[in-house]
């Protein structure tokens, strides 16, 4: 189980999440899944809809935003294949709160942003029984796992 994503897209994710630090940032990952695997091809950064006081540790993307993202991806022959979000000053591991709100199948790319700088990105998928996340490998351009810089 892996997510192929270019270094350029990973950098765009990082830059967006650094920009909104110390708040959590998030958006959708557009791509394709076929027999050869899952490939990210584009991003849709979205505004965090949580109340301002909560945004430092919570994010929310509206259903309208997701619907628009799905329709626009489908019009391009693509799909929403996942979600990216940041954990400001916290590890790039899903929290219990992440699990309770997670959808199956999606790739959840979590970036740890510490002191305003993106440090580590990891990707996770919810197990079918919803009991936990399982980590998937991030395959970037240079075929190295994108981990701690």
């Amino acid at each position: 189980m892996s997510l192929r994503i270019s270094r350029q897209l990973l950098t765009r994710i990082e830059e967006h999440l650094e920009q909104v630090y110390p708040e959590e940032g998030a958006g959708m990952i557009v791509g394709l899944e076929n027999a050869s695997g899952r490939q990210a091809l584009d991003l849709i950064p979205l505004p965090n809809q949580r109340q301002e006081a909560e945004r430092h540790h919570r994010y929310l993307l509206s259903p309208q935003a997701l619907l628009e993202a799905e329709v626009s991806a489908e019009a391009r022959g693509l799909d929403i294949i996942g979600v990216f979000h940041s954990h400001p000053d916290h590890p790039a591991r899903p929290s219990e709160f992440d699990r309770s709100w997670a959808l199956p199948w999606y790739s959840y790319v979590i970036t740890s942003v510490r002191q305003g700088a993106a440090r580590e990105s990891r990707s996770w998928r919810l197990l079918d029984d919803r009991s936990a996340f399982s980590e998937e490998t991030i395959e970037s351009d240079d075929h190295r796992p994108f981990l701690e810089k």
């Binding site: 919570r58 994010y59 619907l67 979600v83 979000h85 400001p88 916290h90 709160f97 199948w105």
Partner: protein
Amino acid sequence: MNIIRIPTALRPYAENNREYESSAATVGEALQQLLAAYPALQPHLLDEEGELRAYVNLFINEDEASSFGGQQAPLKPGDRLLIVPSIAGGAQEPPPTLTDDPGPTSPASNPTLVDHAALKTNQALIILLLLAAFLADLAWLVLAVGLVMAIGTALARPGFLPVYRLLKSRRLVKADPIPDAPQPHRFAQGLGAAVLLAANTAFWAVLPALGWGLVWLVIALAALNLFGGFCVGCALYYWLGRMGLRGFGPQPGASAGSAGELSGE
């Protein structure tokens, strides 16, 4: 017949179908038909009590089904029932509060991150505007800078915080959060505002040399802070604390470093 739209993430649990045709007369009935056709969807649409999960939103065509009675809402032939999740999550525990608004919290009881980029932007703008005021002989600009600093102090934030936020949103500056006590920076800014207001009083009393001397004092202290990293106002704040004055911290917290490392105005 009406159509149920299945979100992308749930299609693998519905035999990869994007839509499902139902003959239901209500939203609840439509969901029952969908779950009967694709039982693997159930854990992702319903919780352990059989209620819709918190992230599940239902729309009838363009409108939220909750406006029409939720699961009791009627469906007409040709209606589209859209299942659209909210996407949410977040870090496990709230991290330390970051503030670019130095406020009254105690660093000992509640570790605070102070955005020093906001402080330095504030100092740079104070220096630039006061230099412009001196060069163009604009006493009103001195008054304006003093008022901005005074208002910022009253609101417990750098006076030019809106400018900093604008620059940050355009990626011209980057946040520099550091564990620190915000109170000394607030005090230092208030002190600068007081000196500038005193300078305006000197201008009003036709003592321009005294007025501009006070303006240069503020410029010098802000520059010492911006370029040298030494905050005279913060040092004074801690000195007053050591003198036992109420409302002043006794000394820099362990996380805040020495007064000489603090930068604020």
